[in-house]
């Protein structure tokens, strides 16, 4: 949790808070932007003013940026090898199929009739 300001000391430090918002019921929470605030209570006030005062949101999530687990390691996210097989479309099979048909001497099958 946010450190409480100790009375009599210097002003509390402003930290960044990320704001997620839901535009209308049923929508996913989407990142809206960020606010600077010294603690969670004021962060919520400012999020409400910056991302909700025009009735553009039905829900806000306000998350201290430091609490977000960040991952941007290219070895983990953008590995160098072909990962097409992990995509829903899979490999492009057209060329391989054509080669296999040529080898077997078969014509491309016609579209199936109903």
């Amino acid at each position: 949790m946010t450190a409480k300001h100790v009375p009599g000391t210097a002003a509390p430090e402003l930290v960044a808070w990320e704001v997620f918002r839901r535009e209308k019921d049923g929508d996913p929470m989407r990142h809206g932007g960020s606010v600077m605030a010294p603690d969670a209570e004021l962060a919520v006030h400012y999020a409400r003013e910056l991302y909700g005062r025009r009735q553009e949101s039905v829900r806000l999530w306000v998350v201290r940026r430091a609490d977000i687990v960040d991952l941007d390691d290219p070895d983990l996210l953008q590995p160098p090898l072909d990962r097409l097989y992990k995509k829903p479309g899979g490999y492009v099979m057209r060329d391989k199929l054509a080669a296999a048909r040529a080898q077997a001497g078969q014509a491309k099958p016609k579209a199936r009739s109903k």
């Binding site: 300001h5 009599g8 600077m36 605030a37 004021l42 400012y46 409400r48 003013e49 005062r53």
Partner: protein, 255 residues
């Protein structure tokens, strides 16, 4: 629009004017923070609160204009300073941030109690509007409360400044509950469901736990309570010259 069965139009008009002037004056005062608030986010927040209050004033002046067959802008802008009926609590000038927060806290808590007394009232147009205003004012109290808490718990300059602000405002804090000349008629007709004395009692009961927790002195009874909405001083005359400046620059123009 018709008045209720038994409340005379003058009584309703007096009530609307007092509440509308309160919202108008505090809204305009707070708008002075636009561009110079302590941090960017707070600048947006305070400007938005100020706009809310001006919006409330516009709705109340609108109701008054409908009731009396006049023009809302004319009511808001074309009176001499002495004809405004806001409470003296709002006559202290913008001051520093602590002053603004102290004034907001005292006013918003009092306004909340007053709205409650109108929500259940017998005049539907006002009761409906008060219900809407009350929903927005909830957030205003949260905002002022959050700041009062931070300033008062700060052992240093913040606390000193908020104590100084409260000391200046204290004698006028309860002027929100200055009895209106036609209060008996408004109570009789059920337009107000509580007398100003009862509202002030509720207000004190509502804020005293906060004042106690923060070690702040509770405001005393209003000085010269009968004139709580009169005798606006130099600070208000300056504010008036500001908010009427454009309007006076070309009287009768269509904006």
């Amino acid at each position: 629009m018709t008045a209720t069965a038994s409340a005379p139009t003058t009584a309703l008009a007096g009530l609307l004017l007092a509440v509308a002037d309160d919202e108008f004056v505090i809204g305009f005062s707070d708008s002075e923070w636009t561009g110079i608030a302590p941090l960017l986010e707070e600048d947006v927040a305070m400007s938005s609160l100020a706009q809310d209050e001006l919006g409330h004033a516009a709705a109340l002046y609108g109701l008054l204009a409908e009731l009396t067959g006049t023009d809302a802008d004319a009511i808001a802008y074309d009176r001499e300073p002495g004809a405004y009926r806001h409470c003296r609590l709002l006559d202290h000038g913008r001051g520093d941030w602590a002053m603004t927060i102290a004034r907001r806290y005292l006013y918003d808590t009092a306004d909340g109690v007053r709205l409650e007394a109108m929500v259940g009232g017998s005049w539907a147009p006002l009761a409906d509007l008060a219900g809407k205003l009350a929903r927005e004012e909830r957030y205003h109290r949260m905002h002022a409360g959050a700041w009062l808490d931070r300033l008062a718990r700060d052992g240093g300059e913040g606390r000193e400044r908020v104590l100084a602000a409260l000391a200046e405002l204290a004698p006028d804090a309860a002027t929100v509950f200055t009895p209106l000349p036609d209060e008996p008629a408004l109570l009789e007709a059920g337009v107000l469901t509580a007398s100003s004395a009862e509202m002030e009692r509720r207000w004190r009961a509502g804020i005293s736990p906060t004042f106690e927790r923060l070690g702040l002195p509770m405001p005393p009874p209003a000085r010269d309570p009968g004139r709580g909405r009169l005798d606006h001083g130099e600070a208000f005359r300056w504010l008036w010259s500001e908010f009427t400046m454009v309007r006076r620059s070309d009287p009768g123009a269509t904006w």
